[in-house]
Symmetry: C2
Subunit: 157 residues, 2 copies
DNA sequence: AAAAAGTGGTCAATCAAGTTGACTATATTT
DNA sequence: AAATATAGTCAACTTGATTGACCACTTTTT
């Protein structure tokens, strides 16, 4: 696929390809660091867990999946050593899911890699253009979801 | 989720959200037109099928999935009336998958809706900024995949 | 020309990640 | 105190992918 082909793409396809380009690079590099058992959805989960932990229901709402699915994902992440369930301080029914030390390692690694990717993009298109890109995407996401917040505004792919 | 929250997001999350914003709107509107049985992946499939049809192996390569998975998807789309399998003109092992009349209807509808979405975005950020956005994304996709084309450059989400 | 290796497509079994429904324990409302 | 709602888990099922086996046909090798 050449640049000519790419430039004929509609914006939606371009967004899809640029997202997968960047998420693929992120997870390739996490794999090299020994975090090969982390999948993209876990990144969004960690976003909701940090910095103070999160309940299962909150995660389900944030990710747009059922609490049962969250429960399975937490089983997996707990088995892999990234999170643990703690008793909720005030609600005896609830648990709060918090990062372990290893969990924090992967979050820090993720941030570092994303910053590096963004830095490389700045080298390609310049600080100003990257700033504009981010502003414009923010506007598009905001305007495109205006009337149906918050249920439809989730990281889904 | 407010615009403030959005503006704190890293570029990767922003790309994810803007892609899902636009793909969600596309499929909501296709549903309203009676094409509720079409899912996002089918759009990328149609891209490869048009205009001259495509073999299963080509589709599998393009989409980055196995030929068995393609075969099942084609079963589904054939059942729904969007495509048909024809004998390959020169290779008696092969089939070519082509769009039916209904298949063309959905492709045309998709293009119309994507153009309208893009038009609305022009109203928000202007022709110039949209043009820059597309150019920049094209550069990012191209540069980000330079050394591993074509296997990693696929519409995946 | 015959034999060997490769390719396009499908069938079957399995896996992964989600779903719905049922249930327990605890909280909240009436 | 009783009724209702909520947080989390277990089990069964669905969906969309996978791997492996296979047939029919094509291409390459000998």
């Amino acid at each position: 696929m050449t640049q000519e082909v790419l430039s004929e793409l509609d914006l939606t396809s371009l967004l899809s390809l640029s997202f997968s380009t960047s998420i693929n690079e992120l997870h390739d590099r996490l794999s090299e660091l020994g975090f090969g058992d982390i999948r993209p959805v876990h990144g969004f989960m960690f976003k909701c867990i940090t910095p103070n932990g999160s309940t299962g229901v909150e995660l389900a709402e944030y990710l747009g999946i059922t609490k049962q699915a969250v429960s399975k994902m937490v089983d997996y992440l707990e088995k892999c050593g990234y999170v643990i369930r703690k008793d909720h301080p005030t609600d005896k029914r609830g648990k709060i899911i918090v990062l372990t030390e290893r969990g924090w390692l992967v979050v820090k690694a993720k941030e570092k890699i994303l910053t590096e990717i963004e830095q490389r993009w700045i080298e390609k298109i310049g600080t100003q253009r990257l700033q504009m890109l981010k502003e414009d995407l923010t506007i598009l996401v905001y305007e495109g979801n205006e009337d149906r917040l918050p249920t439809r505004l989730r990281p889904v792919w």
